[in-house]
């Protein structure tokens, strides 16, 4: 087809199918695979994949903020916490899960906008540290605001109730998480093919040029913070139900760092990278443990080895594969499918 029609009718990326590009078959295959997992695995893989979905949701949020808009956040855990506690509270006072999730998303988005206000004036390093401080403060608030959060003792989270139906089984959480993860993925993909998303990339690359193209930088940054917080909030609400018990010591800077490591290893700025990163974050420690098992007596773990896994992988990726696993996959894809395989972004 001619260049013109390609651009204008936009078959390239203006339709869902086009969005997937050449990866369509792979994507569909994976989708079906995800759908049938519960048939073969009752627990282990199911719960791993559930957390992959949940972390992916939070990851898409962080990717929008960091990968698209170029705004660092060391405080994402605070947004997950907000989502978790808000949904828990709303459900506790008997307003039901759907409302709980909605509240988690929108209140957390509000929190994100609140953080954005001062953040708009800060850059790079200072923003990172400001968000980190915000995280610490939220942690303390969770611990002290006992009437709502249950304090350090934490609170048990009952299964999601939809009318009479209760989503207590692992496979139910699994399907819920993945359904939502796919919705969030689609939304993020839409962002990238519409003005606001492009504007984010613009302010990431050159604020001055963005302004002179009529982009209101502060507003776009605020939207980025809001969206990323909203997704983190949703992830937090899911997380709380998948875990069944939440306490402040679960939402520390360690979690925020995990998320950063995740999207960096997965691939900064790409959505596929988020999925790959989430798989790495959740699955690799397990595989690692099995691997260690081969060398040790076969059933124990060596103390302190886990941080080493993340540390070394992170260093390796940054040094030798700055675009993360995503780039590797693309390269493999090109090698398999011949040149010019369309990358989903």
């Amino acid at each position: 087809m001619s260049k013109k029609s390609e651009l204008v009718t936009g078959v390239r990326d203006l339709t869902l199918a086009g969005l997937l590009g050449r990866q369509r078959p792979v994507a569909i295959a994976l989708l079906v695979a995800l759908a049938v997992v519960p048939c073969f695995h009752s627990g282990y893989w199911l719960s791993q994949l559930t957390f992959v979905a949940i972390y992916a949701i939070a990851g898409f949020g962080l990717q929008i903020l960091l990968g698209f808009a170029g705004q660092v956040s060391l405080g994402q855990a605070a947004f997950l916490a907000s989502g978790a506690y808000v949904s828990a509270y709303v459900e506790r006072i008997g307003l039901g899960a759907p409302l709980g999730f909605a509240a988690a998303i929108f209140l957390t988005a509000g929190l994100g906008l609140l953080v954005a206000l001062p953040a708009l004036r800060m850059a790079g390093l200072y923003l990172a540290i400001a968000t980190m401080s915000f995280g610490f403060i939220v942690e303390e608030v969770m611990a002290r605001w006992t009437s709502v959060t249950g304090g350090n003792a934490g609170i048990a989270i009952p299964a999601i109730k939809l009318g009479s139906l209760s989503l207590g089984q692992p496979w139910q959480i699994y399907y819920l998480s993945w359904a939502l993860a796919l919705v969030v993925l689609l939304i993020s993909a839409n962002l990238l093919r519409t003005p606001i998303g492009r504007a984010m990339l613009a302010i990431r690359d050159s604020e001055i040029a963005a302004r002179s193209s009529g982009i209101r930088v502060s507003r776009i940054k605020a939207v980025a913070f809001g969206l990323s917080a909203a997704f983190a909030g949703l992830a937090g609400a899911l997380y709380s139900h998948a875990i069944g018990f939440i306490s402040p010591d679960q939402f520390t800077i360690a979690m925020s760092l995990d998320l950063l490591v995740m999207i960096l290893i997965g691939g900064l700025g790409t959505l596929r990278g988020v999925l790959l990163g989430a798989v790495f974050l959740v699955v690799s420690p397990e595989l690692f443990q099995q691997l260690i098992g081969l060398f040790t007596s076969g059933n124990t773990e060596v103390a302190g080895l886990r941080p080493l896994l993340f540390g070394v992988s992170l260093i390796f990726v940054l040094l030798f594969q700055p675009d993360g696993i995503d780039a590797m996959v693309t390269r493999i894809g090109e090698w398999v499918a011949g040149p010019a395989a369309g990358g989903k972004r």
């Binding site: 049938v36 304090g151 018990f245 306490s247 959740v282 080895l305």
Partner: protein
């Protein structure tokens, strides 16, 4: 919406497959999982790399030595014990995943010595709902035994129980009237605080002043200035090892010789070792006796000797005793159950255990059908010339 033939087809497929599978995979509890004719398979999820690795690691060492001994002695009624450890890194997500694996893929018989409050909280339902046993977790959590759950047993009551006893003792026996609390800003610390308040309520007294700190804090000057200003005659500690020792140093620094009564986590040898002279005269409550007090017992000497040989001459960490004792408690119960070892039978045996003393520093264990917490009493300890000594038992 818009043109997406392939994708829409995929959606249908997905939905269909999904519902089909959902129906297919209803979780079921396997009876007698983890028991074969020559093996007992156990699991344990503890922190080997995270913030409470300093407890997880020695606990594992203790469990391993107890298992080693039992297996070398021919196992339990012909069955050898195998235990699978998983490192939670104190990350609940990781703990859930690991527990899922141990429950559903490895089908372990029981989880012995889980470490960490949050970890036990998140894994307990999954364990007992799948018919596995949760035995003697290293976390002071009331939910484990209150209300009594058929498949959950613990040796460790919530810290408030001991704190209550300690407070009553300080009030009645020591005649203290102005109580202050110094505690860690987390669950364990707040449990102690709760216990102190309960104790004071009983005698109609009130807490004079309290000051908290965050785990990992290095400076306690302001907290102690505050407590000193309140001029209390005893400071109750809800602190954990390192911070407790550092706090004792601070107390010495500001030259304030007020009595101090510490809770279980810091009534250990490590605190004395770290605080040195500053620890002299410190009171404490702990269900587990300090190493110093038992290390010369004939039955203990060989164990510590073996440990030293494999660990460069070191004495084990106090937390070692939890791993060692709790595992031996399980071994003893399994032995008493006899060859027909099933979940139900082990529960029966455990519920008949009365005043069982392993004589290895742990308080005697007593369970019943209605009470799944092994001991509600505690030792009253005091540091005399740099050594913990027992000056009584609080009930």
């Amino acid at each position: 919406m818009f043109r997406m033939p392939g994708a829409r087809h995929a959606m249908r497929l997905t939905l269909f497959a999904g519902l089909a599978c959902g129906a297919a995979s209803a979780a079921f509890a396997a009876e007698n999982q983890g028991i074969t004719k020559d093996e007992i398979l156990l699991g344990s999820v503890l922190d080997l790399s995270g913030p409470v690795a300093s407890i997880g690691v020695p606990v594992r060492e203790g469990q391993d030595m107890a298992i080693q001994a039992a297996n070398d002695a021919g196992g339990i009624n012909g069955r050898k014990i195998r235990i699978i450890y998983a490192d939670s890194g104190y990350d609940p997500k990781k703990a859930i995943i690991a527990t899922q694996k141990l429950v559903n893929d490895d089908h372990v018989f029981a989880f012995v010595g889980q470490v960490g409050s949050a970890i036990v909280h998140v894994t307990m339902p999954m364990i007992i709902n799948n018919g596995a046993l949760l035995l003697f977790p290293n976390a002071p959590i009331e939910e484990v035994y209150e209300p009594t759950k058929p498949l959950a047993f613990t040796m460790q009551p919530a810290f408030n129980v001991q704190a209550r006893l300690a407070t009553a003792y300080a009030y009645n026996t020591l005649g203290k009237r102005k109580f202050c609390a110094f505690y860690q800003d987390d669950d364990s610390g707040e449990q102690v605080l709760r216990g102190i308040n309960e104790g004071l309520d009983q005698v109609g007294a009130k807490l004079v002043e309290k000051a908290s700190y965050k785990r990992g804090a290095t400076d306690f000057s302001s907290q102690f200035a505050r407590l000193k200003q309140a001029d209390c005659d005893i400071v109750m500690f809800g602190a954990v090892v390192r911070e407790a020792a550092a706090a004792m140093l601070e107390k010495q620094k500001i030259g304030w010789n007020v009595d101090v009564l510490v809770s279980q986590p810091s009534a250990t040898d490590t605190v004395v070792r770290l605080a040195g002279s500053a620890a002299e005269g410190m009171l404490g409550v702990n269900q587990m006796l300090p190493l110093d007090m038992i290390k010369d017992q004939p039955n203990v000497v060989p164990v510590f000797k073996a440990y030293a040989e494999s660990h460069g001459g070191k004495l084990p960490d106090p937390a070692f005793l939890y791993g060692y004792n709790f595992m031996n408690l399980f071994i003893e119960a399994a032995r008493r159950t006899g060859p027909d070892l099933t979940t139900q039978n082990l529960v029966k045996t455990l519920e008949q255990i009365h005043d069982l003393d392993l004589n290895f520093g742990m308080a005697p264990a007593t369970f019943s059908a209605t009470q799944h917490v092994g001991s509600l009493s505690t030792n009253l300890l005091k540091v005399v010339n740099g050594q913990w000594t027992r000056i009584g038992v609080l009930k």
